[in-house]
């Protein structure tokens, strides 16, 4: 398999855009990525397009990738529409990566696009909740997070104060990110005092709905060296797994850890080498768990990581410099590629006010989603290096 590099990235701002449809959002992300890479519409040989709930909330009821891409001037090529709940963006990247790594294509496009605001917020909320077959029993994801976090707090020693500190760090990062839905810093106190949704989770620890799109252009590393306008960022690994059955009383390896270990092995890179990270923090405290599950610290050290500031923009290993899902917004299938956008931008040193200061050579993206069998339906870990 050939080495593969990212030569262009693009994303829209995330937010509520009542007068923009998926074609419009997707086109902006794709064109931005094309211009960033310095390649033309006709250079794209194959495209993967991720979307999760467009069929339920928009007028596009199928072949959404073709609709979005033709509106960006791209047609005729193989277009593969993928869905993997919140992991759609990474699934799209994985497809583009495999096309190029295998030699099946030289230049491939990965897109993630989502439109959650449909003019009927009850419908949007219902659609989001219906991602699990237990919704009809009253099951809510936020309860699940809360249940898991309460257990994890007991095991790891992390506290609600730690959760609020992580959320505050990310709100600060988001305040510096022109693409974030919420560009407002918040104090630890404001976060702790916001409405309790499900103990220990408060309102400002939770991600909300957003519209948005993100895209990446990948090509073989050899070609990248010749054509890339900017420093190409190599995809050292892009590993996807699905959930496993959680048998009571038996060890259950976390899905994130399974994906990360595969990615570390594939990349020949260990967690100690990672210098900038975006994790899937649909609820901010999830970031703390990721420190441990991705082996960025030892079990029980997550609280220390945030207490000592290791994961701030100026820390040893900045995490979620974009603001993460709660500040940046979470347009399901766009999220994974927006995480990639962020890490590539940071590794290039182009992140402006939110630029991390450790000149990262290795970055990591963790992107999980969906729910089956008492586990996430999917999780992808991507390792980038320059």
């Amino acid at each position: 398999m050939r080495d593969v590099s990212i030569i262009g990235v693009g994303m829209t701002r995330f937010g509520k855009f009542e007068d923009r449809d998926m074609k419009d959002l997707g086109r902006e992300a794709v064109w931005t990525a094309l211009n960033d890479a310095g390649v033309g519409i006709k250079d794209i040989q194959v495209a993967y397009v991720a979307n999760a709930v467009g069929q339920q909330l928009t007028e596009l009821k199928g072949t959404i990738g073709q609709h979005v891409l033709t509106s960006a001037g791209i047609f005729g090529i193989p277009v593969i529409n993928v869905e993997n709940a919140c992991t759609g963006g990474s699934t799209s990247l994985r497809g583009a990566y495999l096309e190029v790594a295998s030699g099946n294509a030289d230049v491939a496009l990965a897109v993630g696009v989502e439109k959650l605001f449909c003019g009927d917020s009850a419908k949007s909320a219902q659609t989001m909740a219906a991602g699990t077959i237990y919704a009809k029993f009253g099951f809510m994801f936020v309860a699940l997070y809360a249940l898991q976090l309460k257990k994890w707090m007991a095991a790891s020693g992390a506290t609600k104060l730690h959760f609020a500190k992580v959320a505050a760090k990310n709100k600060y990062n988001g305040s510096l990110n022109p693409y974030a839905q919420f560009q407002k810093a918040m104090t630890v106190e404001q976060i702790l005092e916001s409405r309790v949704v499900a103990e220990p989770l408060t309102q400002f620890m939770c991600s909300t709905m957003a519209d948005g799109a993100a895209a990446a252009i990948v090509c073989s590393s050899d070609i990248a060296k010749k054509i890339s306008q900017k420093y190409p960022i190599q995809i050292a690994a892009c590993e996807l797994v699905s959930g496993t059955y959680n048998i009571p009383g038996e060890e259950h390896e976390e899905i994130t850890t399974r994906a990360a270990l595969k990615a570390y092995e594939k990349a020949g890179i260990g967690p100690e080498d990672v210098q900038v990270v975006e994790v899937h923090d649909a609820m901010s405290p999830a970031e703390l768990r990721m420190y441990e599950e991705l082996h960025l610290c030892k079990p029980g050290e997550a609280g220390m990581m945030i207490d000592e500031g290791h994961t701030t923009l100026t820390g040893r290993i900045p995490v979620n410099p974009s603001g993460g899902l709660a500040a940046k917004g979470h347009p399901i299938s766009a999220t994974g590629l927006a995480q990639v956008y962020e890490v590539v931008t940071q590794m290039r040193g182009e992140a402006g006010k939110r630029q991390v200061t450790n000149n990262p050579k290795v970055g990591l993206v963790e992107n999980a989603g969906g729910w089956t069998m008492d586990d996430n339906a999917a999780c992808a870990v991507t390792i980038l290096k320059k």
Binding site: A125, F139, K150, A198, M373
Partner: protein, 140 residues
């Protein structure tokens, strides 16, 4: 018009006639390794081979594994709610709504005995009662 009681999903439980017998949860069990499942799974997730699962009933006794009081709800459902994992006696861990006690941190204790009850979880659009299994503190 009479309100009907409609199971939110078929095949999950048997509701006893009032005053007679017991209600049950319907799950299954692996003939090979003994793993239990609720709801039924067509393949044993431990053995991962075909045709090892057979139907079994659970009495609905268990202990509280973990819980959360949720100050949000899907349309039609009560807010706040208590959402919990129950360790079913002779069965798997399962998710359930909790009823029969106040939705406050003080009313539940991890490890306490729980028992299954078939009860309304919400009204449907026609005003019928949608019923499902729920758990309540044992003896209450």
């Amino acid at each position: 018009m009479d309100k009907k009681r409609i199971p939110v999903q078929e095949g999950l439980f048997i509701e006893a006639d009032p005053g007679t017998g017991k209600s049950y949860l319907i799950g299954n069990k692996c003939k090979k390794c003994g793993l239990t499942a609720f709801p039924k799974t067509p393949v044993c997730p431990r053995c991962q081979i075909q045709d090892t699962m057979e139907e079994t009933k659970f009495e609905g006794k268990g202990t509280l594994d973990s819980y959360s009081i949720v100050q949000a709800a899907l349309p039609g459902f009560q807010q706040p709610s208590i959402q919990a994992y129950i360790n079913l006696d002779n069965g798997p861990k399962m998710w359930s709504l909790v009823t029969g006690c106040e939705p406050t941190e003080g009313s539940l204790k991890l490890g306490m005995k729980m028992e299954m009850v078939i009860d309304k979880i919400r009204d449907d659009e026609e005003g019928n009662e949608l019923i499902s299994y729920q758990f309540k503190p044992a003896g209450k």
